[in-house]
Subunit: 267 residues, 2 copies
Amino acid sequence: MDILVTLNENYMPQLRVMLASLAINCPGERADIWLLHRAISPEGVRSLNEFCLARGMRLHEVRANEDLFSGAPSTKQYPPEMYFRLLAGQLLPQSLERVLYLDPDILIINSLKPLWETGLRGSMFGACAHTGKTELANSVSYVRLGSEKYYNSGVLLMDLALMRREIAPEELFRYAEEHRRELILPDQDMLNAMFSGRILDLPDIIWNYDARNYSTYFLRTSGEADTDWVMRNTAILHFCGRAKPWKSMYRHRFGVLYKHYMRIAER
Amino acid sequence: MDILVTLNENYMPQLRVMLASLAINCPGERADIWLLHRAISPEGVRSLNEFCLARGMRLHEVRANEDLFSGAPSTKQYPPEMYFRLLAGQLLPQSLERVLYLDPDILIINSLKPLWETGLRGSMFGACAHTGKTELANSVSYVRLGSEKYYNSGVLLMDLALMRREIAPEELFRYAEEHRRELILPDQDMLNAMFSGRILDLPDIIWNYDARNYSTYFLRTSGEADTDWVMRNTAILHFCGRAKPWKSMYRHRFGVLYKHYMRIAER
């Protein structure tokens, strides 16, 4: 399994928690972690490398080639990092044909193998739209961006070979320039506005479970998706939104699990 | 670390969950598991042995010598198993000098090493009295049994050498015979009635946290023992009482963690 992460140094503690949960819950899977970044310190990378080795994972550092972004509109709101996901084809080694991008604010609680082995059947991405409470916000977004569904970009299975052929950096930069007033979450919005037709729709309840929305999943499945079901079937819990489980006042159901993995990641 | 478990076949699934949590949360500790029993099938033992080996632990089967119990009053309410803990000195190999007994309905969430290394300073046992909601029941019990505190027998650090010297099987049997009307939980009651003066008192919030009593621990510590604190400091969550986290309607806070480990134990 090749896992892609792109983040800045502030999210290194969360990345460790995510990787610790990956190591425990995908036993027997070889995991290669691709760290694509611009500004993480050599000490930060070295320490993460040790962390990965101790858990049987291999870390590969890829420092983004700044030249690629010379044509990008760059402001504080639009840092080069916002293009890392969509330009992963160009930024990662040519030999890689597929990668699974994961946000750092997630917990892996069951095997990722079935996701990793999902055939994309000509789509460039596999992704999930969050159902539930966020649907109103999603409707606004798909009217706003003209896409049919609003996909969350926190879990993205990528066909890198297709992306290399079909995504042109200058088109991304042009889009960003032309829509700079409308983009709220620039990278996620661009994924939806420019590529929603190239996304294979995957079930969020399995691969990108919005950890705030237990009751909605529960009701939508007529009570099937209770805690037992989630612990047995869901593979990725995504702690999206403003309330974060690494803070002390987090009140949602899966906080206790996150905090336990924080402790495991410290060892 | 030498861990003692005594159970019947019905509790094998819970034992696996407990051992899976032990393997993850005491990394780098060699664990020898002593399974003391009377009636577990050879197939059950073989399968548990594989489970342990896959997690880096060694299983040792000890079939209880029935002769030892020939003088015991035996009824349905008083099966020979009730003496296994108190007679562990006689039942386990002479070469073992110390063992940590653990109930199967617990989850290990932090290292047991500090408990394992606790000096008993002449006490025969290290044990915890449950504080909190159960205190009323405890007061009744210590009036009933004449002991000062009512210790829970689910986590017991044992000095086997002392136990061999000081616990006489026939005295246990005589006590059971004479008090057969009063004993509610015969083994736990006998531990308290006969040996409370020989127990080193350990903090339950660390080593035998009653998983039903989050609010009481929280209030008693003036809010210090919140979820973060428990995940960081508590080593043993004990799911005692009638509500069990492996059942679907369990409503307490740590159920989600238990259910996650149930899944880990199945792999």
